[in-house]
Symmetry: C2
Subunit: 212 residues, 2 copies
């Protein structure tokens, strides 16, 4: 098999998406930790447009943007599929992948801003979580049903980071009576051992950097 | 064949993407014009999360978000493919689809803002166009080579709207000595008859609404 390398950072939910997809499919890979405060020449060469992690290197070719990488992984190693077989169901999954790509960056801002801006970002974040609760999760174990899929990986950062953000901003966002489905999903997602291995300790009080 | 309906507006490049994909594949469809200043109950029901056009209805099921819809069309009607066969090349195409989704909304702001904000948006728009010139287009007729593909459709709004925006803001953005590849691509894209039929008249001076 051609060599697989993942350039990322240990604290980025976007790196985790790729790492989780590779783990679920049982693809061996080498993880290369990037220092985002001092980006390597190699990273700039591999992703000259966005200059960001994660980047997947497969057989010497680079693939950038976590959702694009997950789609590539799905097509290259179709065993243990991470998208539904049916094209309509796949479109529904891609709708939520797109939603995650557009909206999660708003939520991550909560750990970076303060004052009025923080209040605005909290408001938007609650709307995002409410949309997931009402329209995406329904009465299922995972986003797509009984099996983890790419949409779960896409939102997986919420499961592992939200508690730390709530601790940092001093506000509980996901309360049981308002978000029963989301809380159940967070529990289900965190219960999959292969998805929790080697993640940073984000149990409050924490001292890890916030996601990037 | 199951009925295909496209809810959109005649002046939206996001509607055009879907319309172009259907036309290139020869799929008959009914176009339903939506009034965005007074959204129909049906639109709100079909796209309850974003409440936006375009929405494709196929056999009674709704698919939202133009890029998700193009992927659905590609999978449902694989004839005359709009994505490359090779998975790495498909990842490269999806990288640019993602780039278009993130960046084009910045460019469309040029027709909606003024003053310092306009200057900032012009600066960002020129960076976006420079990235396409340097990294995406190379010496090819279209983004993917000699054949129109989904990436061309994704950026097609530029070909048909930019001139009108330049006229409105009184600034020429794409000049030949700086953007030879982009200008050649705009010419090539606009030369495909099936992609220019029934588009609004955006030749300056124009009175059409700006894209939404």
């Amino acid at each position: 098999m051609e060599e697989v390398k993942l350039h990322g950072t240990w604290y980025s939910p976007y790196s985790w998406r790729v790492m989780w997809a590779l783990r679920l499919k049982g693809i061996p890979y080498e993880f290369i930790e990037e220092d985002l405060s001092n980006k390597s020449d190699l990273l700039l060469e591999l992703n000259p447009v966005h200059k960001k992690i994660p980047v997947l290197l497969h057989g010497g070719k680079s693939i950038c943007e976590s959702t694009v990488i997950m789609e590539y992984i799905e097509e290259t190693w179709p065993c243990k599929p991470l998208l539904p077989c049916d094209s309509y169901e796949r479109a529904v999954a891609r709708f939520w992948l797109n939603f995650a790509d557009v909206k999660l960056s708003i939520m991550w801002k909560m750990s970076k801003v303060g004052g009025d801006e923080l209040q605005q970002v909290i408001k938007e974040s609650l709307e995002i979580l409410q949309t997931l609760e009402e329209h995406a999760l329904r009465e299922k174990k995972y986003f797509g049903g009984d099996k983890i899929d790419m949409v779960d990986l896409s939102f997986g950062g919420i499961a592992h980071v939200l508690e730390a953000i709530e601790y940092k901003i001093g506000t509980k966002l996901v309360e049981g009576h308002k978000f029963p489905r989301l809380l159940a999903w967070i529990h289900n997602f965190k219960s999959v051992p292969i998805l929790s291995e080697n993640l940073p300790n984000l149990k409050p009080p924490f001292k890890n950097p916030t996601p990037n």
